[in-house]
Symmetry: D3
Subunit: 297 residues, 6 copies
């Protein structure tokens, strides 16, 4: 195609000028594809036999688990090391790169992460039960595991949360976006979420970075737990609400503000807009009192 050589030259020139490129040789970033594969592997380790990887039977369970843990640990260590090194450069752009120390930190992190897997499975079992109990349409636990996007979102959140808590940059947000893309549920890895959590349908749910959620909370599609202030300089303050135990929030409700607390046992109706605290055991709804809140399939 005539003229293509010149176009290529201009594109290369534009790379040289703005530096908006990420050459592998210098300061590599974690790989989306690899994080995706790690999430698949961890999902298999959390709920063995329900996914699409190698067939599983009682006899090969030990062999396949050892293989998966070793593989996931190896892949995770590589990605965590890149993230840790990125964090070091971000804080200290001109510093020498203590690469050896990043590797050691990554190894430590990954080991701690895997030590927590049995506990994570206990949390997950509670989430599965909450979903089964919370949705009249659910016919079996297996149906929940195989077809509830809310379960996938909370599982990935609990994995991502570990890395956020340990201040690993990039990876937790990459994990949360991977599951956001699949489920339409956007949970920031900074959010703290208690046990027996259930999101039904889920498309459009947004849960912000400093949200705190208690136990036995249930959300429907389109719920926003957001911030009132969006100023960059307030990034380190608590900007998102606190949801206490046993709260249900129906579809499309919006709850904003770091000081906003939804008291335990409350029910927040669909499409409600809330920017200040609600006392425990309240029922908040839009429109006339004879409308009972809630929606379900």
């Amino acid at each position: 195609m005539p003229g293509l050589d010149k176009i290529i030259e201009e594109l290369l020139e534009s790379y040289r000028q703005d530096g908006l490129i990420n050459p592998a040789g210098e300061a590599n970033l974690p790989s989306k594809k690899s994080i995706n594969g790690i999430l698949r592997e961890l999902t298999e380790l959390a709920m063995p036999g329900f996914g699409e990887m190698d067939p599983l039977d009682h006899d090969n369970l030990a062999l396949i688990t050892a293989e998966r843990v070793n593989r996931a640990a190896r892949n995770l260590e590589r990605e965590v090391e890149k993230s840790v090194a990125f964090g070091v450069r971000l804080e200290n752009p001109r510093g020498t790169k203590p690469l050896r120390r990043c590797r050691a930190a990554a190894e430590l992190l990954v080991r701690d992460f895997f030590s927590g897997l049995p506990e994570l499975r206990r949390m997950l079992a509670l989430d599965i039960k909450a979903a089964f109990k919370g949705d009249p349409a659910a016919k079996s636990m297996e149906e929940v595991i195989l077809s509830y996007p809310g379960l996938e979102a909370i599982l990935v959140h609990r994995l991502a949360r570990f890395f956020w808590h340990r201040k690993v940059p990039l990876i937790p947000r990459m994990m949360s976006e991977i599951v956001h893309s699949k489920t339409g549920i956007d949970i920031h890895p900074g959010a703290e979420i208690g046990g027996s959590f259930f999101i039904d349908h889920g498309t459009g749910v947004v849960i912000g970075e400093t949200t705190v959620i208690g136990s036995n909370v249930k959300l429907y599609q389109g719920v926003t737990l957001g911030a009132l202030s969006v100023k960059k300089e307030e990034a380190n303050r608590k900007r998102h609400p606190t949801i206490e135990d046993d709260v249900t929030i129906y579809s499309g409700a919006t709850i904003l503000g770091g000081a906003t607390v939804i008291g335990r046992g409350s029910i927040i109706g669909g499409n409600v807009w809330i920017t200040s605290s609600i006392p425990p055991n309240s029922t908040v709804y839009v429109g006339s009192a004879d409308q009972i809140m809630g929606q379900r399939h």
Copy 2:
């Protein structure tokens, strides 16, 4: 990595304790990956030549159709058999497994399913026309087929509906979640939907299990057709609304309750919240009367 052996042992111990595993050898479940492949194949059979599988011409149409029907039948039979066997175990956990009978039931179901394909194509043609007619931005039928997520959602719903109707567990919900993940449109396979159905944009639409929808109905993004009651013991009642023929429901509207009927020819405005019946040919909107309902691109 030192310590990994011990971690693996703890993980295996956690598998032993909670039993949250699905070993292939015992009571296998249908495979998400396989259901996904079957949906791709059925989409090709419903609209031959528009997808990404083998190139199609008039001369090889017969060969390729025979091949696809045989392959899809084989794969579907295997997954349906697993689902039927799962259903038998669910109802009768200690019973002996009449595996031969599950296979025969699966074969019968699959044959009936394929017998209905020509009729399904007639329904689909009406849906395509409804989309073309209903969206001023649509320039051609081909554009509708190639780029309207609402069409993909209704096609998969009509496929999943067959298996729901015949009481096959798991598969219909797995199908509806696959297309929910791709389109953001969540239609429970239990919903009954009439001809010439059109969903525009679609992200966030939720249609519950016992919803009944007439002909020539049009929905926009974010519409919820949900339940008022979410008690598990009412799971067998009609919990979701009835939408009669020729109704249009604009974006973000929420219609709840098993006794709620939207009368034929009505227009429901955006963001409206409805929990009781609306007479035929009504127009319901939020805000001042001079606001004309509707939104489109």
Copy 3:
């Protein structure tokens, strides 16, 4: 499976009757899979080194860029040629197909497209900065590139817009649906969007065909920029709103109508429903005046 031969014959008969098939030999359509691959390639060319294709270093940057441009140009030319030929048939169904001319038009279009890539990268750099500045939770530019779905949506929109502007059918809409499926953000390729644009979270955003958006505009999840009229015969009029510079629109707001103008510097609160123009520097919100608009994680 007995009876399958008859079913296949009926299916073939149904193909013969309704003609809802697309045989490759006659009037081929662009391929979704190929458009998908082209978008991946163009994303790599726009932000080299951040994606998953071949590893990149400073030494091989020239070789890999030349290779990618040539490959993308070749694939794009093939798909554009099919689209142009489809457009010709659509306007003139019985005309002879001037295939040579379609190929020439495709070559010209593709060359022009690639000439514009350096400029597109400048726009994209502004969008990245807008996202970083606009979200307190964003810790680095790299985080924005690796995990913000809004950035992916605006990048693909700027690519698709070129083909829409040049009246290539099908391809721009196929591109916008591919990214809609991944992000839940549905931007019609006809929309005009200024520099430094930012969509946060994004699920459920709909931006209509004749929308015009200025610079430094920020949207949150669930915002609709839609039409009041959905009559097919008004398809050629401006049906969607105009958003001037420096406007922020919070989650769930709906703004409708081709004559509706949101004046520069205005703030539109969450869940607000607007169908008429708003003067510059206004603040519009639902509920009591002490509620400050906005939500964030």
Copy 4:
């Protein structure tokens, strides 16, 4: 890389000059990759369940066989059509291309080919028995099917032979080279080979175009059945030997010439060089008479 543009231009210039290119658009040739896939499919049809394709059980045997025959027929028809069209051009380079007729001829050929598959399976069963009987090291029929290259070579030969006999160009030779590459056994598709044929080890065996071989013949590695004359103008004469029934030829033996006949029941020792006929029931060997011919593992 500086200078690459110029190199590319020179390469394109060299393509223009010598014409040693095969553009798909004009006169396409059969595809090696496709022929390879067809051979795999036909091998599965000939010996169902021994290969690596979809798992097979008694219940899905009918579905999978119908699917495979349809797929193989479709792929084979496409490649045969290209070959037939190539043959037409070769004989009549300036003629108009009667493409319709090539398609019809291909369809007829493919149908005849599949009609012969049951008979081919009967031949193959005899070959398997001959191998089991002929090799003391063979422990079971299954071992022969899974690990004897000679069986693979004769199976592919019997397939390729059909197309050679029907004067389809290119495809039979492509088939014989695919199996030559895998087994080191080079049988020209023109060779006529009787029932119960066995080649042990096989590496280096060459069987020429006009060879005729009877029943119950056994060959070892490195045997050549070749021509004395290699003049192009004698290409249409019988140039290779005739091997009558019940002959055994040991490793490294060379038998040349179209008039050379090895009489029935003869044994030809290793490394023997023969260019004239041998009467029935002869034993021919190199060296002293006390050496008994033969070698085996």
Copy 5:
């Protein structure tokens, strides 16, 4: 394609009649593809870092080794179990299948196999040195590992030999045929081969089932170590020669017979045909005495 249905029916009928099929459900056989993958994995474990699997560094060596051993053990156990069960059926066709015991036997075999890997690596290191020393054209050990087919053949032989020795049917022969197909070197897994073994070029080499080879033996291409007798009933006797230590056999030589012993330190010239024993330190050649044996590149 008209008539295809009838052809499919005839093919199915032919399957029913001759039973030459292997349905997965009944008595499954080891998979060629799986054995192939296991050989690749074992090659990586034997010479880590030289192959094409995951990149290897000192830090991940432990993780990747544990992962590979677990994966290879799992895959191998499955294939060995199928082979053992096949062997049981072969000896006792009407017997009940003690499947549990086959699994236990497979587990034991696989554990023993892996216990022997360090010793196998010591043998392999000697073979590499023998190749480097034995070929003047070899420039480095790395060249030997990366490009000597003889090394690959002896490695696979040493692996296959273990299973042969332990009387596992099918698998050892499948392994030897996989490497025969790649290298043209056909070593029966029953052959006993000492340390520091080297085959140069290798195409056409055949080493029979009961061959015994000492240490420091060197073979060239086309050498046959075969049997004089090919009667099935003598299958359990030693039928192939014994090659003592420090023997070199040049290309194309044929040595036959179970009682034939090539005495230590002998040199056998190219194309020589030997059917009786040769005393130690002999030189055997064809033709005049002034011809020095040997050939090399």
Copy 6:
């Protein structure tokens, strides 16, 4: 599997002891898989349109050629750099690694290599004509290109030869082994081969490192051009024969020795063993004079 942990530890210990591993981080070696891909790419560049890569037409020939040259150059440069660095370490094991210089050398080598491609295509065209002319069974040039292993072997040899000549280690030998594995033809990259070269059938052909072959030479299967001496210390001498123009060598012939010259126009019969020079225009054969040499299919 109990005991596996201990086995893994022993294997790791064995790695530590013998150092027979190749960790990527230190001194990486060229990759077989990558060299394989490069050969496929170069084969496409040498004979565009005959292979299995992207479909080719006259309109996209320029785009696809530019893409391929850039891709092949990039991949080749990476592998050549690793090889050059390996060569530097081999000669100077303790030296500092001048990595920059290896990269520069690789770039220069690759550019020179591509500059020679048009000339290589001229050589190849002669080889194709020689094959067509030399085999009475060849029906067309296309048949030669699609199904003659001898052509593939000489093409790869001419590519590998370039790198041998420029003293790049490992890569040329890896290339020659790749094609040896596919064709059974083993040509050392050091061999010098003139124009219009043809090998028929080819299995078992060995051509040594210091062989010199003139123009219009034809070989059959099993021919060895080898060395008399195999002492490591004579590795730098000419050890293999010289074959002058217009010589034909029939199957199984062996010609040995660096001083051995086969005079122009000679014919060497099958299975002949030659260790001294033959004058021009000689005919050498085994056995009685009435036997005419040659074999063919």
